[in-house]
């Protein structure tokens, strides 16, 4: 009997447990296994095999039933998911249904939750930008929230480290507000974009237009070839999963690297419900997991825990891990757990038509757009709001979907649509949202979800600073497009609610002082040193740039630190 007990404990004991297999968790698994640790990678979602799992990736348009539309049945059963573009006919199976993803809203919050190994790293938009000291210093300089406990110099080598492995295509600009990275060759721009770039940069000195920095392989370097990836085929169906492994995801990149070590154990269908804490040692001892299918509980032990379950789920886990020492959630001495919830706000900008250049077309479908880095509130300029925004955008030539001569039909009409239309170009602003203590998530224990977890109650909104910023986001876009020669330029504002950008951040912020933050400069929980959180929950401010690259860098850096601390016996 003794033998059985020992073996049972052994099977449940690992060097490290990583919770979540998405952008952050995949990196934690890779780094920790490569540094010699036996890692248990827990994922609440179902298994999704690289390549063979991507059911819709190679389908022709006529293999869709509804040309991408949702059915009335889907809209009825997915009232929240069907609010926005990521949930559609082709991506349906990658997202949790609304009946499983129960949550409540004091104010509207659109929460997009994947239900697969790899998490949102399968569906993500792949835009990859570094934060700068404009971001790291902003809270301190403006007296907002708390200071980041790190600066750009601390994370710069780790940006390089993750960029080299992930493979980021882009162009160096030498801008302090958008630090350059380790880039694969940049993707090409359309002729219209090159024209607009020239005119815009001439007309607005200090503003720049560049090709997007994107986690697609314009070329496959040896780091990528080493895990079996090949270069982008320009099909622009990335969010369905790539059979070529041409964009960075857990499946294409970090999981194969971790598997190679022989030290990875991946458990899908595993919902982490509690981090187990031992007050005598002031350490976590492991994780309690509920099987997503059988609803049976098991406990796993480890020396180190990496919480990478995505912002809301990571903080939910900490909030649910109550004990005598931590009645308000693990590590929540500060009361900041669940607070300072942020997202980016967007869905605002302008577009217009370009006259001429009808003798020019393009070849291939670029899985990328152009980017205009932040230019507001840098240097001495002071707008009537703090922080800033960037633009994502693109030119394109109208295709068969364009609205020509409303009432026309017949042979001429058909002929017109089978030839390309005019060039158009649009810009969409992505703005920073300040960290507000009042913007929060809490847990509602009165009606748990099917796994017995309390559901999240969201209470967050855009406030004055964001609203004022949006005026510039709209007006600047119009001004720039008009100055660059676009005609019929129209502003649009489709309204932005927290959660829509799917860059939800904060709720377990890093900081210098355990009284006002949850995590320290190494992403350790201040008061529970062997628990690390390296996903969006850690963000002390949101910047205006896409955050996933920063999660990768924070994770790799924290994993390196964790292993060093383990070796020293400090954990």
């Amino acid at each position: 009997m003794a033998n059985l007990n020992i073996n049972a404990v052994k099977d449940m004991t690992f060097d490290a447990i990583v919770i979540g297999s998405g952008i952050s968790g995949g990196w934690a698994a890779k780094e920790l296994t490569e540094k010699g640790l036996r890692v248990l990678l827990l994922e609440r979602g179902r298994s999704l095999e690289h390549i063979t799992g991507y059911e819709n990736a190679m389908k022709a348009p006529w293999e869709m039933q509804y040309a991408g539309r949702l059915t009335t049945s889907q809209i009825e059963t997915h009232p929240k998911l069907s609010r926005d573009y990521p949930y559609n006919e082709m991506t349906e199976k990658y997202w949790m249904t609304d009946t499983d993803s129960l949550y409540k809203e004091e104010k509207r919050f659109d929460w997009f939750r994947p239900n697969i190994v790899g998490g949102k790293s399968i569906m993500w938009g792949r835009q990859s930008y570094r934060l700068s000291d404009f971001d790291f210093e902003a809270n301190l300089k403006e007296g907002i929230a708390v200071d980041w406990p790190i600066r750009y110099a601390d994370i710069a080598p780790w940006y390089s480290y993750v960029e080299k492995f992930a493979g980021i295509s882009g162009e160096k600009l030498g801008l302090p507000q958008l630090p350059d990275g380790e880039f694969l060759p940049p993707m090409d721009m359309f002729h219209v974009e090159k024209e607009v770039k020239q005119r815009l940069e001439k007309h607005f000195p200090g503003r720049h237009l560049t090709i997007g920095r994107v986690a697609n392989l314009s070329e496959a370097a040896k780091e990528q070839l080493g895990v079996g990836r090949s270069r982008c085929q320009y099909r622009n169906k990335c969010n369905l999963g790539c059979p070529f492994g041409a964009y960075f995801s857990s499946q294409s990149s970090t999981l194969p690297a971790a598997s190679k070590t022989g030290r990875l154990t991946l458990r899908p269908d595993s919902v982490a419900t509690h981090i187990l804490y031992d007050d005598a040692t002031q350490r976590a001892t492991g994780v309690r997991v509920r099987d997503a299918v059988t609803l049976q509980d098991r406990e796993y032990n480890a020396k180190v825990v990496f919480v990478c379950a995505s912002t809301i789920s990571s903080t939910t886990l900490l909030m649910n891990s109550v004990s005598a020492r931590f009645p308000n959630g693990l590590g929540n001495d500060s009361g900041q757990l669940g607070r300072n919830l942020m997202d980016h706000h967007f869905r605002i900008g302008a577009n217009g038509t370009w006259e001429g250049d009808l003798d020019k077309y393009y070849y291939g479908r670029r899985a990328n757009g152009i980017y205009i880095p932040r230019y507001r509130n840098l240097g001495s300029e002071r707008r009537d709001y703090a922080r800033g925004f960037g633009y994502q955008g693109s030119a394109s030539r109208q295709g068969w979907q364009r609205n020509v001569a409303e009432l026309a039909f017949g042979a001429d009409f058909k002929e017109t649509l089978t030839h390309p239309g005019d060039w158009t170009m649009g810009l969409t602003g992505f703005g920073e949202m300040l960290p507000y203590f009042e913007n929060k998530m809490t847990l509602d224990r009165t009606s748990p979800d099917k796994w017995g977890m309390p559901v999240v109650l969201f209470d967050a909104e855009l406030k004055e600073n964001e609203k004022k910023m949006r005026l510039d986001m709209a007006n600047d876009a119009k001004e720039m497009l008009e100055a660059s020669g676009l005609k019929n330029v129209k502003i649009y504002d489709n309204g932005s609610y927290p959660g829509m950008a799917i860059h939800e951040m904060g709720t377990a912020r890093m900081g210098r002082d355990p009284k006002t933050s949850v995590l320290n400069a190494h992403n350790q929980i201040h008061s529970v040193r062997n628990v690390f959180m390296t996903d969006g929950a850690a963000m002390t401010s949101g910047s205006c740039v896409n955050p996933s690259l920063t999660y990768m860098a924070l994770t790799a850096r924290a994993a390196d630190f964790a292993v060093e601390e383990l070796k020293k016996g400090s954990l």
Binding site: N351, F409, P420
Partner: protein
Amino acid sequence: MKRRKAIQLGALSLGAFFSRELAVLAQQPSLLAGASSATTSDQELLLAELADLIIPNTETPGAKAAGVEKFIIRVLRDCHKPEEQKQFYHSLAQVKADGVQTFGLPFLQLNTKQRTELLTRCTVRDKPFFLKLKQLTVTGYFTSEIGASKALAYLPIPGKFIGSVPMEPGQKTWAL
């Protein structure tokens, strides 16, 4: 990159479609109340012919050859509320009735010129129906195998991206 498409199209198509549905959802107890209209073979034939007027055979086969009426029926049945379906098929019946009234013949016995006249009248008499029919026809056609691969330039795996290439004479729109 749906986000990029959303950026380009602004408030058009997808975004407007979903938010409209959401607004209606807020007002009604269930989208599924009432049965989906089952279509008769008459209705199917009529839809095929109307779609074929909108996108006829030219150098490439038209909507009828591409079976677009099947797409239209499927989308109406599964993606539209019962009242919308009812309205649509009622409007369809009006076109048929208009034909009998004007030419004294069932639609399928009319020649192309007569049918075109009926559809042209419809663009004024029942513009919402015409626009819906046209939108479904165009989408159904250009995502069909015939439409995408014959009428347009179909290139499933480009292999490279070149931002600027000269337009070939008679260059077709990319299907994807």
